[in-house]
Amino acid sequence: MRTEILISGFGGQGVIRMGQILGLCAINQGHRVTMLKSHGTETRGGYVRAQIVISPEYVDSPVVEHADVFVAFSQPAYTKFYDLCGGKVLYDPELVEKVRDDAPDRHVPVAATQLSKETFSNQLFANMIMLGALTRVAALDYEAMRKAMLAVIPRFHDQNLAALDLGHTLPAARV
Amino acid sequence: MNKLAAKYLRPSQIPTKACHGCGIGMIENWLLQAIDELGLKQEDVIFGTGIGCVGRQTFATWGGDNFGATHGRALAVATGLKLAQPDKKYLIVVGDGDAASIGTSHLIHAARRNLGVTVICEDNMGYESTGGQFSPTTPAGYVTNSSPYGMVEPGFDPCDVVKAAGATFVAETTATQWHQTVKIVKKALQNDGFSFVHVRFPCNENFGAYALGTRDTLKNLEWIYEHTQGRKADGSETDFTWETGIKHDASNSRPEFSRLLRDMNARVKADMEAKRRP
């Protein structure tokens, strides 16, 4: 079964890191993975998009055309890629203010930036909160995700684990 | 044939294709003397050339290993070769086109890295193999095939450029200073780093014919001689004088490029082994 995940936002939010952890987690569980990343010229700011495809077989097309899960970290990203998504849309209400009202059951608000600021006095951990929520929404193996995260992130393991846990236990993510 | 040519050169490749009275052969003869006096053997020296008169006429004359790079790239090739064969002496014989024009960036960066090669820039003050156009070392005002109204561009001195770039040995001579050239090339070869020797020599067929108005080999070499001395045969001053001699000698004062890389590799390897041990 081919699973497509699309994550998009601004540069510096940790979009690529999220994809990397997600991908490594799938590889550790014996899946095949591709991750296309596209970004603007600048290192910080600009747009970033990660297209992740997970499959038990070799992934032919790495392009996400019908995302099973779409994570929107910015309003432009949400507007641009909404039509590519056929499944759940996780979005950060602080960054995506206007959402479509035609499919409320597909939308999962995750206040990652706000929670990160409140809990860690730093918005850097928003991506891990979002990843925790994503793990729950997509019904992925939480333990494997924790291990992959520890393998990928070099520092601040305690905060990152706490953030992942925070996202994973969010009421909004329980579906 | 002279004894050194018999000892070091390829009999099938000499006489070279050089025009009569061309200074390229003289300078190569002096290089052989320097090599011989240092006791180097054929296999100790790798001979690199570029394109143009100097490249064409000297390529494959050396009896040991030769490379004739594309125009201006002899130093770029030498950069890679030096990594693979660090213990050899490199004689990179290039013209003013190679060194001062098309390949200047390689020259500058080889000097910056202190690449362990000796560059002999044989300068005939123009692009003579293509018919005598001006080069960055053509003296101002002189007529060439592409400066029919006189050279209007200011020239530049490659010695200053490589010195500023960090060369550890820089010298200039002309084709009438045999003893000095041999001595300088010997010193250059003893420097484990970047050495640059700028040698001016006459071209009879183009520079001589157009800039100096004669194809007479004697008059053209005499012209070089006068501008080396600063004085004409009749005692009057020349329009300019080349300052010859050693211009900068910091031989063996900083590590050679390939050595730097090998030292780094040794450090990395030691660190890795230290980490592997519990």
Binding site: V33 | D65, F67, A76, G80, L83, A84
Partner: protein, 409 residues
């Protein structure tokens, strides 16, 4: 001549994969795979100039080479980069450089020099969309012909290969080094921004020293240095530094390497440069096919683009179109045999001018049956490919699709 097999991948690494059981599975980028492939193949010199999207190869190399006793040189420009690689290869070390289109054209000076002096080395060209600098972060396939005619003057054949996955990039780099050693010639790995930047699961063998399929470096220490007038391969390359009197130069050369201006010498040298590759074309064929047995319409692609095209072919088959698929891994010498069949072709490539399609038109029996689906800066989508195959199968015409270019003249 090459006999086209019924389907699947034809490449030496199918066998290699079976031999390598021990190793690690990683999530890594194509640039990483290209670097590790080179290290595994014994590459010990990298000289180049950073350029998106090949910069990461330079960065990985600067980290990895000192660990294995190799040398990383960041040159002043691409001209110097490839010349330094050629110099290192002449000195007896395997060398590689990596660049993108703007740097690749600068390297042609050294490329021709390496071809004429039969110097083995590997060049990675990570194509991005052009012309000139284009968009640094978008894929293109505009160097198909440039890679073939990678030097001026003609009278040579080149070897160009193209991976379409991160794993394949790893194996193909080893393969490219082997080919460059066998054929005494530079080999281009024509990859693109997608494969370079894409992260994918990658198997890396545990121990490179035991890889028996890596061709070791051998040296020719015998005069004459060039078997001119002869098309033999597996002749070890010349090496400078052993006092054997090697001559390499940019000129037409005799078998001793001396420059010469005689037509007979020119004919003998170019006979070798052309035929050492042409006469051994069957050893260079790497490609993937499926569905050719009953195909009425065949999609043709290479590189990253081939992945969405393949999915598109599968989708078309699901819709009942008798579609087949050809993915070229070896781009040059061009595998004409794959296209000598009576069916329609849809050539998908990432440019609007049409490059691969012209070769297919030349090789296919009927030019009017070859169709072009060009797209610029972005991979074809699966639905575009499926719609295109469907249209060609029905009416021998491509449907009009947004952003798809169909004109080749």
């Amino acid at each position: 001549m090459i006999t086209v097999k019924a389907g699947g991948l034809v490449a030496p690494w199918i066998e290699w994969e079976k031999r390598c059981t021990d190793g690690r599975r990683l999530l890594e980028a194509g640039t990483y795979a290209l670097t590790e492939g080179a290290i595994a193949a014994g590459c010990r010199v990298f000289a180049g100039y950073p350029i998106t999207p090949a910069t990461d190869i330079a960065e990985y190399m600067s980290k990895r080479l000192p660990q294995v006793g190799g040398y990383y040189v960041q040159c002043e420009d691409e001209l110097a980069g490839m010349h330094a690689c050629a110099g290192a290869s002449l000195g007896g070390l395997k060398a590689m450089t990596a660049t993108s289109g703007p740097g690749y054209t600068l390297m042609h000076d050294a490329y021709g020099w390496s071809i004429t002096n039969e110097i083995p080395l590997v060049v990675v060209d990570a194509m991005r969309v052009g012309p000139i600098s284009g968009i640094t972060g978008a894929p293109g396939q505009g160097e198909f012909y440039i890679a073939r005619y990678a030097s001026h003057g003609g009278n040579f054949e080149t070897i160009v290969v193209s991976p379409s996955s991160v794993q394949e990039a790893f194996w193909l780099t080893i393969d490219a080094f082997n080919l460059s050693e066998r054929f005494r010639t530079p080999v281009t790995i024509l990859t693109d921004q997608v494969i370079s930047d894409m992260w994918e699961d990658l198997f890396i063998p545990a121990d490179y020293d035991g890889l028996d399929f890596v061709r070791p470096r051998k040296h020719n220490l015998m005069m004459p240095f060039y078997p001119v007038g002869d098309a033999s391969i597996d002749v070890p390359p010349n090496v400078i530094g052993h006092g054997t009197g090697v001559c390499v130069s940019a000129y037409t050369h005799t078998e001793e390497g001396y420059d010469i201006e005689e037509m007979e010498a020119q004919w003998a040298q170019t006979y070798r440069l052309v035929n050492k590759i042409r006469h051994h074309k069957d050893e260079l064929a790497r490609y993937e096919t499926f569905g050719l047995d009953d195909a009425e319409v065949v999609a043709v692609a290479y590189g990253a683009n081939a992945r969405t095209v393949k999915t598109g072919v599968l989708e078309a088959r699901r819709r009942g179109v008798k579609a087949g698929f050809v993915r070229l891994v070896t781009l040059w010498p061009f595998l004409d045999e794959l296209f000598e069949r009576d069916c329609r072709f849809v050539v998908c490539e990432l440019n609007y001018d049409g490059q691969l399609v012209r070769e297919v038109q030349r090789a296919a029996p009927h030019k009017k049956d070859v169709h072009f689906m060009g797209k610029s800066a972005e991979l074809h989508t699966v639905s575009e490919v499926a719609a295109g195959l469907d249209g060609v199968a029905r009416s021998n015409r491509l449907p009009e699709l947004p952003y798809i270019w169909t004109e080749v003249r």
